[in-house]
Chain length 206, copies 2
């Protein structure tokens, strides 16, 4: 499976719970200021651990950053991909996907932005394991969108000559513009404009 | 005028040339790693000045960052806005705008990305003069796009019921997706997909 399922909270040891709290604090920092703003010391403060206490869970800053990114992926699956997959394939699934995706961007638990779009600006010029993990996550995301659009063709919700990859490109474009207009320009019309663009995109595919 | 014209290189003193070299080096750093990666020491190294030599031109890191951002605006006007304004208003102007805008993103002098999209990720969570200057630049950019789309309506290249602000939102969305797919995903099809999305956007406005 592309995205691992979220770990259940039941039956977690104290160590597991501490680890989960560290990752959640990391996600909050990464969604607002970026993965580079994560430091062992800063997260230790946020979860009331000593630095060495935190080191017991994560052996390096990079490992911590990688696991925070993975935690972001898991959360995205729980909140955005999962509900879409539970919906009827084709157009209903796309609509559910967009609805939850915009909610993720706009006001997730961290009150920050999207960890992936934030990280894209950080790692588009760097080499290394963090960039590699981010690129993999975004390739998976694009492929998920392509697949969701292809199902619309299969279900005859879209015309047979629609290019699912083009559709995916334009759909992600709208979500990026939504993020930018909400987060930087504080534009309250962004959700409405995003939905309007989405309806136009759907109409042109029918 | 919204954007100040670019200063001519002629008749520049040595001090002016040094200042211009510092700002250009700053733009290169900001377009790749971000405005926060600019430090007095780092730029001093790049232009072969001592730190105190650089301080003679810019009194603080923040002033330097603000002037680098302004330099980015000036360059954007020279390379993207100016050529568009020189074109016939309406659809021809929009086409020239997009062509140069994509070139700006993809391979400007810095071999980096777009300073504005990079800075958006940095400052969408911070208060202060840098965010204010960035937001102003992006408001101006959006208003320029809205105006360019409104002229398409006026010239009867677009239908009269087209909302120029919606058009501007969707146009900027495509440019953001282009930047993301080129820079992070290294996707060579991004320019083609962006142009295809643009044609669809134009068609739907006619």
């Amino acid at each position: 499976m592309m995205y691992p399922p979220k770990a259940s909270m039941e039956g977690q040891s104290k160590g597991d719970r501490t680890r989960a709290a560290i990752l959640q604090a990391g996600l909050e920092v990464a969604s607002t200021e970026g993965l580079e703003a994560i430091t062992i010391g800063r997260l230790a403060d946020r979860v009331n651990l000593s630095k060495s206490g935190l080191f017991a869970h994560f052996s390096s800053k990079e490992q911590l950053q990688l696991e925070v990114l993975q935690h972001g992926r898991n959360e995205f699956v729980t909140r955005v991909i999962g509900p879409a997959l539970a919906e009827t394939r084709g157009e209903p699934r796309l609509r559910t996907l967009l609805k939850n995706w915009l909610g993720w961007n706009w006001s997730n638990d961290s009150r920050g932005g999207c960890i992936f779009l934030q990280a894209a600006a950080e790692y588009d010029d760097r080499e290394g394991p963090l960039r590699d993990a981010l690129v993999e996550s975004q390739h998976d995301m694009v492929e998920f969108l392509v697949g969701a659009a292809a199902l619309c063709v299969e279900e005859k919700h879209f015309r047979s000559d629609i290019d699912p990859r083009q559709f995916a490109f334009e759909l992600y474009a709208l979500v990026m513009a939504h993020h930018f207009h909400i987060r930087l320009l504080d534009d309250p019309t962004a959700p409405k404009r995003t939905r309007k663009g989405f309806e136009r995109l759907l109409e042109s595919a029918k």
